[in-house]
Symmetry: C2
Subunit: 218 residues, 2 copies
């Protein structure tokens, strides 16, 4: 069968086409319908137990982006890209987070919360058995799933992007008020369209041979 919704060739073409964009076209903005789809890709990202321990902050305000650039090693993409998304994760998880998900699940699926008790106890077990630091690490990994989903979605829609960890998280938290909401900045993604003269677009993709990073047990 080859009736895949997207062909393998289209998928791979786009994954080859993408690169960490260093210089964006400062004029060209992502059309609203495409941006909406990229936000939905974030919303639809999977997470452990479905806990969604994240907040995505989308910033187009140039003044706030100037402030953020100053705590991002002055990397140009922060202000020059069409859109900036800050990926933050919950600093811990509590039984209240579990309760919240159970309620949302019961409401969404029109089922009594009591039928979800096994699921709830499993989550409570995970949450209660870990110290906040470990829970923060667990959460941060989920946020990176969303980053992967976002970068993949952007590539497929023909939107350029650059994932960036070189930002001062605590300063971001202060500027964006994330800290008092219980979130910590982990990384950002800038998105838009590559500048015609971004020579990084031409560099061959550097990937280790499959024999090195992949093993097969047949």
């Amino acid at each position: 069968m080859n009736s895949t919704p997207v062909s393998p060739q289209t998928l791979l073409n786009q994954l080859h086409w993408r690169y960490a964009t260093k210089k964006f076209d400062v004029v060209k903005k992502i059309p609203a319908d495409l941006w909406k789809a990229l936000e939905q890709a974030l919303v639809l990202s999977p997470s452990s137990y479905g806990l969604q321990p994240w907040k995505f902050t989308v910033i187009t305000d140039p003044k706030v982006r100037e402030q953020l650039k100053a705590v991002s090693w002055n990397q140009g993409q922060i202000t020059e890209a069409s859109h900036l998304v800050v990926f933050s994760g919950k600093k811990t998880l509590t039984p209240a987070d579990v309760e919240h998900l159970i309620e949302a699940t019961a409401t969404t699926r029109h089922i009594p919360a009591a039928t979800l008790d096994g699921y709830k106890q499993m989550m409570l077990g995970s949450v209660k058995s870990q110290i906040p630091e470990k829970l923060a690490i667990w959460n941060s990994r989920q946020v990176y799933i969303a980053l992967g989903m976002f970068l993949s979605a952007a590539a497929l829609l023909g939107v350029d992007a650059c994932p960036m960890e070189g930002v001062t998280g605590p300063e971001y938290d202060k500027i964006l008020g994330l800290d008092q909401q219980g979130f910590a900045t982990l990384c950002v993604a800038t998105a838009g369209y590559r500048a015609g003269d971004d020579h990084y677009a031409e560099g061959a993709k550097v990937r280790y041979p499959e024999s090195e990073i992949m093993a097969h047990i047949h």
Copy 2:
């Protein structure tokens, strides 16, 4: 412009279609061309500095999968899905990892390694300033980008998948010999085709409202 390689509607249809598959069709296997594309999606995943601190182990051998199932809370997908991928991350990073990437970059791009010295020093700075535990956490996040890329690619190709963290990493490491190679198992993904009677496929997707997980600064 609406000449995107993949339409926003196709992207969102597939992201809505995907779900954490609990029960796979034990007969239906992923065709070779699609599986090859999914492996390439892993290879092409981005990582911080391009360090690719990961190993992906693809297991189709039923005996090894039985062994792994026993240390995965006996979850059926481990043996029933068409393919199983174990996602592992490097337990640390050393200057040798940096050196290796510089060499690969110089070779791939046909440039002298000396021209990459700024990039090299930046990476060495990051590697040398962190304790192994922090480097392992950093690596683990990159592995989760690859997980996100894989899950997204599978959805677009119409392949079902289930990301699973409920596996005993250290036992996986032993069975697969990852430990002595310097890797630690983080999670797995099973992939294949949903069974006709997996009632989880019918459950409405539970996502918090955008107002809760997304903020906009215009």
